[in-house]
Subunit: 451 residues, 2 copies
C-alpha cells in the first residue's frame, strides 16, 4: 500500500512540501487540508488586488483543488479544521466547518504548515464590525467588497509593519483616504529608523496621513460598527479599520497535540523539519527556524522562508536527506514608487545579538546620472567592527533596484567581509547601473571605519 | 620634495588610480596625460549620445582638465602622446600632437593605463572616408556629426561584438537604418549561442538588418568615400561603416620601453599592478589580469575591470598594500528592450579551460505573472559536472532584471555550488520577483543533472 502523507495548511509551505514530495516520489498518496475556502494563493499579491492592479482574486490563486488533483495528483480538502494529532493512532481529528461534523483522517506521515496568525491588540473595539486583520485571502475579499460598495472612502490602519504598509499602498492607489497609526518613532522595524524615514516621506508624498508615535487607544463604534480611532485627545474618523500589530506562529494544533515548541514560540523542528514526534513534520511560519547570521532560533513570518522550509520537508518526505540552511529574513516591498529591501540583521538586531558592530549608509544612484530615469539609491550596511564581516544590508530605491539586495544575500550567505564586497566584479552599463555599484560604494566607505 | 606620479591615459583605470592615490596621500604630485582631446569620460555612454537620449557629449565627461585640477588637485594634459619610458632617467618622452614638439616629463613613479585599441580587419577599404572604429569619445563625435548632417541614413556595422551591438542600438533608436554583419553563427560571443539567439531576435524585432554567418569581404568606395559592403555576391549600400572586429591591449608604449608582456599579450603585472620595472605600474585594459574562475591570465576590455585595477594601483601608489582579486568578466548591456548580462565562463570557455562541465537554461519571469509588466527572464548556468560548482551565468531579460547577474557574481566569487544557490534566501515580492527566483529555478533544474 502506498504511503499516506497528510498536510495541514495549503499555502506556501504546505503546498511546496506536497508538490516537491509528489514530484520526487509519485507513489506517495498526498492529501492537503485547509480550514479556509481557498488553497495555494499568493497572499503577497493581496495589495494589488485591493488596488485594482490585479482585477480578479482568482489571478492570485495558483491551484484550485480540482486543478491540483488533476495536474499534480494531490488531493485537497478545504473548509476542514485540524483539531488534534493522534500520534499513536496515526490519525488527525478534524471538523468540517460547513456542517460542524467531526472526521478522522489517517496518515503515515504528517506535515503541519498552519502558518501564522495576526496578533490582536489589547484595546477596546477590535470586535466591532468593520475592524479586520489581514492574513488570508478571505480578508482581502471582505475588504474589497467593502470598498466596492462605494461607502468606504477612508481607512484607518493600526500598525505600520509589513501588512500595514502594503495595505496603505494598495488602498491609496485605489483612491481611498488612508490614515496610519504607528506607536513607535518609525514604521517598519525590519529596517533601521534612518532608512524608514525615507519610506515615511514616500507615504506622505503619496497622501497617506501618517501618525507616528501615536497609539491607537480605542476603536470607537456606533451601533456595533466601527466609526473612529481614538488616539490621545484626537478622534479620527474612518469607515474601516485594519489591524497590523504583528503576527504569531499558529501553533494551536501542535501545542494541543503535545508537540514541543521552541524558544521562539514556534513549533520546534530539527534541520530536516521533523518535530518532537517522529514522522510528524512542521514547515513554514508555524515552525521555528534559525537566523543564518546570528545562529539563533527565530520565528519568521516570510512566505519565501516558508516555501523553502516546505521544499526541504518535501524532499525528506520523499526519502532524500535535505536540511534547511536557515533564513536571512530577506524581504522586499514596493511602497508606491519606492522599493525597500533588507537582509540579515538590522543595526538594532545586531547589537541585541551581541555583535560589536558599526554601520554605513550612502546615497548613490541606480543608473548613470546622465541616463534618463536615474534615481537615488540608498544603501546601508551593518558590519562587525573588528572583522568587517557584513551582518546585514538595507536598500531604499526605485522598485526594481531594491532587488539588488540579492547580491548581499549571496555575500552574507558566504560570510563576506566589506573588503570582499568592495572587490566584487559587479555589472555596469549606464542604463542599469553605475561604474561603482552603490553596494560597493557603501563597502568602500565602510572600510574607512575599520582602519 | 613631494613625490611625482605620472599617469599615461586619462580614463577608467588612469583616472581612478590618480584619484584614489591623491585621496589617500594628498602630498603626491600627480599628473595625468592623454593623447586625446578629452579626459575622464564614459565611453559606455556613447550609444546614448548617438541615439540622442543624452543630448550633449559633455554629459558623458566627468572632469574637464580644469575641474580635475580644481576639485581633485590632479593636473591633466591632453593632446600629449607618450612615446618612451626612460626608466633609468625616470622620465617619459612625449610628443605634443598640436605642434609635433617633443617633451620630457619627469616622474618618480609611473602608471601606464593606455587602454585598448580596436582591431582592424584585414580587408580592403578600411582606409576609406566614412569607415570608423569606435573606441574614443572623438569617434562618437565624428559619427554624430555625420548623422547630424542628415545625409547619413543607413549605417553598416561590421562585427557583432559589444561595440557593434551598442552602435546598432544607439543608431537605430536615432531612426537610422542599420545593417549588421557577423561572420560567426551568432552575435556576441560573450554569451553562448543559445542565449545570443534571443538578442538576435530582439535586433530583428527592432528593425536591424542582420546578416549572420556573413563575412564583410570588402568595403567599397567611390572617390575615396565608403559606399557599400561587399559580402559574397551581395553588395549592401550604406552611408557609414563602423568596424567592431575585436580589440587589443594598447601595449605600444610598454613594449617599446622594454616592459614585459604576459601570455595574453597585455602588459605583465603582479597582483599589485607593478610591471617588470619597479616603480612602473600598469592598470586597465592594457594590463594583464586573471580570471577568477579559471585562474588564467587574460586581457579584459571591460571598463569595470579597468577601474578596479586602477583603484588597486592607486592604493599601492599611496603606500597601501592592495591586490587585485581578478575578474569574472562580468558585463551587462541594454539592447533595445532587452538586458543581457553574463559573468564567469561561457560553456565554450569552460570546456576550453578543461572543466568537465554541463549547463542548464530556464525561462521564468522577472515578477509575478499576474503583476503588470511581468516579462520573461532567461537564465543559463554553467557548472562543474562532478562538484556542481558554478562556473558562469548568463541572463537575458528586461533591462533592469539583467542586473540580477550580481547575485551570481557574489556566488561565483565565493565558489558556490548549485546547491548553495538553490538555498539562498533571495528577495520576493510580486512587483519585483517570483517566489522562486529564476536563478534559483535554474539551480534547482541544474541539480537534477548532478544526481
Amino acid at each position: 500500500m502506498s504511503e499516506r502523507v497528510l498536510v495541514v495548511g495549503a499555502n506556501a509551505a504546505g503546498m511546496t512540501a506536497a508538490s516537491r514530495a509528489k514530484r520526487l516520489d509519485p507513489r506517495l498518496e498526498i492529501t492537503v487540508i485547509d480550514a479556509g475556502e481557498f488553497i495555494s494563493y499568493s497572499i503577497c499579491g493581496l495589495p494589488y488586488y485591493l488596488s485594482g492592479i490585479v482585477s480578479e482574486h482568482s489571478d492570485l490563486i495558483r491551484f484550485t483543488p480540482e486543478a491540483l488533483e488533476q495536474q499534480r495528483g494531490i488531493r485537497a480538502r478545504t473548509g476542514l479544521r485540524a483539531d488534534l494529532v493522534m500520534a499513536g493512532k496515526r490519525a488527525l481529528a478534524c471538523t468540517s466547518l460547513a456542517d460542524g461534523r467531526s472526521h478522522e483522517l489517517g496518515f503515515d506521515r504528517l506535515v503541519i504548515s498552519t502558518g501564522y496568525l495576526p496578533r490582536h491588540p489589547e484595546i477596546e473595539g477590535t470586535d466591532l464590525q468593520g475592524v479586520l486583520t489581514v492574513s488570508r485571502l478571505e480578508d482581502g475579499l471582505r475588504i474589497r467588497r467593502a470598498i466596492d460598495t462605494g461607502r468606504c472612502g477612508r481607512v484607518a490602519i493600526v500598525g505600520g509593519g509589513y501588512v500595514g504598509l502594503m495595505m496603505a499602498h494598495g488602498l491609496r492607489e485605489r483612491g481611498l483616504e488612508v490614515v496610519l497609526f504607528e506607536q513607535n518613532a518609525h514604521l517598519f522595524d525590519q529596517i533601521d529608523g534612518d532608512m524608514a524615514e525615507l519610506v515615511e516621506d514616500e507615504l506622505r508624498r503619496a497622501g497617506v496621513e501618517l501618525h507616528l508615535e501615536t497609539r491607537a487607544e480605542r476603536l470607537v463604534g456606533r451601533d456595533g460598527v466601527f466609526v473612529a480611532v481614538q488616539a490621545g485627545r484626537e478622534r479620527i474618523e474612518a469607515d474601516l479599520a485594519l489591524i497590523d500589530v504583528g503576527i504569531l506562529p499558529n501553533t494551536r494544533l501542535a501545542e494541543e497535540s503535545g508537540l514541543a515548541l521552541g524558544i521562539s514560540g514556534a513549533v520546534q523542528v530539527d534541520e530536516r523539519g521533523m518535530t518532537s514526534q517522529p514522522g510528524i513534520y512542521a514547515a513554514g511560519n508555524c515552525a521555528e527556524t534559525f537566523h543564518r547570521v546570528s545562529g539563533r532560533p527565530i520565528f519568521s513570518g516570510l512566505g519565501t522562508s516558508a516555501a523553502r522550509q516546505g521544499r526541504v520537508v518535501g524532499e525528506n518526505l520523499a526519502g532524500r536527506r535535505s536540511a534547511f540552511p536557515g533564513t536571512l529574513e530577506t524581504s522586499i516591498e514596493r511602497v508606491f514608487e519606492l522599493g525597500i529591501s533588507r537582509t540579515g540583521l538590522t543595526s538594532k538586531q545586531a547589537w541585541q545579538h551581541g555583535f560589536e558592530c558599526d554601520s554605513v549608509r550612502i546615497r548613490s544612484r541606480d543608473r548613470a546620472g546622465y541616463y534618463p530615469g536615474s534615481r537615488p539609491m540608498d544603501v546601508k550596511l551593518i558590519f562587525e567592527r573588528r572583522s568587517g564581516r557584513v551582518l546585514g544590508g538595507q536598500i531604499v530605491s526605485a522598485p526594481q533596484a531594491a532587488k539588488r539586495i540579492d547580491t548581499l544575500v549571496a555575500a552574507l550567505s558566504s560570510g563576506m567581509k566589506l573588503r570582499d564586497l568592495a572587490q566584487l566584479d559587479l555589472a555596469y552599463a549606464p542604463p542599469m547601473g553605475t561604474l561603482w555599484d552603490p553596494i560597493q560604494v557603501a563597502a568602500n566607505v565602510g572600510l574607512r571605519k575599520l582602519d
